[in-house]
Symmetry: C2
């Protein structure tokens, strides 16, 4: 998404590249090395190989993945090569201990299907001509037990237990199966095979990315630089965005869903998404916040801009604008002021709608009320009234919102 508003930085100076790349990153191991690589690449006109791995057992990409995809796209725009690595090897093995029932075990056909799904999604952001899609089963399926033992000899138990989640589980006496120690090594070995210069991932991947660095060093390769980015909070603003928490905006959501979900964000979260998912600079964001405070900008408008931006990224500008209009229409139909006036009526049968409109003060006369209904400008609880001869049954305790014209509301309360 950064991308669409960016120029081609093929000739961007290394220092400037670094500045753009590290923006919003959490870990960078190490800045010095990355700058050296960028300088060498710039001097020799030789693009860097940028790796990012994805788990094919969860093929629905959401905004959480987009943070890294955006960075990959930035690298492409800067002239570098991207390897989109699908970790199908482990997905095909699943959890041999049988402990993790939630992780689906995929067969080769499903992996292929998921990979196609992936392509459809990631190429909404990445440039397909500058992206290599690889599957680690290519080399892992051929690996022998001997080779895996050699790989396992490159790392110690103590260091593996330093990984945050392992450490917690170990302390809590929750079982860690030995094969779980092998997966980070496999992921690291992928970097050896791909000879990647840089690997990107979310912060919770830091440990695994560093394993890749070490294995490369041991193989005599220049170790990859490691860049991590924040885990995006889900729509609830509490847990990380995940399909299993149902707090996500998926890349493949419909324009209507993307727009609607974005509009439900809290203002704080809206700014977080602006920060992590758009190309707004810190300066611009600061100004925007200021404008909201002073009333120069309206929060609803700022949120709609964000929603529009997301739809535009995964679809196009026209679709985005159409969604904006749709939303505005629906919103205006439902827009009920919080200080709405109440009007109490007594229970009655066959009460004419135009009388109610008149009595409650929404129109000066029943003929005016009839004209409003015929002009489709009257709603009961957001539903348009079609028939100007409508007779209503008003029962004690009923409450509803009666709207006539663009901004005139009244809350009808049926008394006893």
């Amino acid at each position: 998404m950064n991308i669409k508003s960016q120029n081609n930085y093929l000739n961007c100076k290394p220092e400037d590249q670094l500045e753009r790349i590290r923006f919003n990153s959490v870990d960078l191991v190490s800045e010095e090395e990355l700058l050296r690589k960028l300088k060498k690449s710039f001097k020799e006109k030789k693009p860097l190989k940028i790796k990012a791995g994805f788990d094919p057992s969860r093929p629905d990409l959401h905004l959480g993945h987009v943070i890294v995809l955006n960075k990959l796209k930035l690298f492409q725009d800067l002239g570098h090569h991207v390897v989109f690595l699908i970790g199908d090897f482990t997905a095909q093995i699943g959890d041999p201990s049988g402990l993790d029932k939630t992780r689906p075990l995929l067969n080769a056909k499903e992996v292929k299907q998921n990979a196609e799904t992936y392509s459809r999604q990631v190429f909404k952001i990445l440039d397909s001509h500058k992206t290599k899609v690889r599957f680690n089963s290519e080399w892992m399926n051929k690996m022998s037990a001997v080779d895996l033992i050699h790989l396992a000899g490159q790392h110690t138990v103590a260091r593996m237990l330093e990984r945050d989640d392992f450490s917690k589980r170990f302390k809590k006496n929750q079982p860690i199966c030995i094969h779980e120690f092998l997966y980070p090594l496999v992921q690291g070995y992928d970097s050896v095979v791909l000879e990647s210069d840089v690997e990107l991932g979310a912060t919770d991947q830091l440990f695994n990315l560093l394993v890749g660095r070490e294995l490369q060093k041991r193989k005599g390769q220049e170790p990859q630089c490691v860049l991590t980015f924040p885990l995006l909070e889900g729509l609830d603003g509490v847990r990380k965005m995940s399909k299993s928490y149902n707090n996500y905006i998926a890349i493949e959501d419909s324009p209507k869903e993307i727009f609607g979900k974005t509009m439900k964000l809290s203002d704080d979260l809206m700014f977080r998404y602006y920060e992590l998912l758009t190309d707004k600079t810190n300066q611009e964001l600061k100004q925007l916040k200021e404008d909201l405070k002073t009333g120069k900008a309206h929060p609803m408008k700022v949120k709609m801009d964000l929603a529009c931006f997301f739809v535009e990224c995964f679809y196009d500008t026209a679709t985005a604008e159409k969604e904006r209009e749709n939303f505005k229409n629906i919103f205006s139909r439902q827009e009920v002021p919080s200080d709405i006036q109440k009007y109490t009526v007594s229970p009655a049968e066959d009460f004419w709608i135009c009388h109610l409109i008149c009595e409650s003060g929404l129109s000066p006369s029943t003929s005016e009320a009839r004209r409003l209904i015929q002009g489709r400008a009257v709603e009961i609880d957001g539903e348009k009234v079609q028939d100007s001869n409508l007779k209503m049954n008003l029962k004690a305790g009923d409450e509803f919102i009666l709207k006539a014209g663009k901004r005139r509301f009244v809350k009808i309360v049926v008394g006893i």
Copy 2:
């Protein structure tokens, strides 16, 4: 060694088999299961499959190994089948972390050579017709990384860290490489492939043997029973017998070495060896100790019997008896009573040997002394005196043992 004095127990009752098998064992998991297996085998006339694994990177077998080999032979005598498993797979991989410099890395040719050495040694004890020699590289070389990951999924990190040596190293922050966690699984997997009914090993193998049990259970096999035997103390009586401590009696030592090393044992250790390596019953050993106490038996004689027994096991009776005679001769030449009489002479040059023999009271006359020398019955510090005209230089401070005839000694001390 038990063996040679044993009959064939093919028709031995299961309860009696159990009694003989468990004799001297440290762990037995579990007695109930083993008895059930023995009963079934007895009833169906179907021999059990007994597994014992050996490390081919150390091809010299010593008495420490003999404890288990003896038990294997017992199983053979009872009619069961023995699989002598050579763990060549790991020996060919070595330590991929490069941490263990002491463990030699073997190539296929060396493994084959060591295997031949092994056969030459073990068939001094085992019945070659009833022994299957297998190499775990047969199945492990064919294993894929995927299969090994599945194997690794069968065990947890916490359980592996319960192994005594791992636990100690972990607590001391000494590195444990991840592949080290894989080796016990490989060893356990061997039991799955071999479908072994019983596995034997030294006590320090208990953990690994139990892994085999678990893997078999998971594969739906009836789990092997596990029997461990004590680690034999080396000749120093302190550390376990090992080539690297140079405190061992090797199966391939010469008869002279075996005899000589045995004779150097302390009396306590002699009984330990009797207990663990011969077929003496507890009752017989108790009696022997009693006889030593009362003087009915001489410790030297009891030790010679043990030395003879060892030589007989690895060679034959005639060789053993020859060694006994050799030893006796050498010993008797050196046998000096601890309460030896002293005789002090003044320093002198060209002092005639026959005078000294006379003066010190070993013979009544010089002519008798001359006859003794001519009869090769005189020794100085264990060396025969050849010349009856020998003139000696007696210098102040000199001391030596003068022996004349079979049991007559005197300690000559040259005074100032």
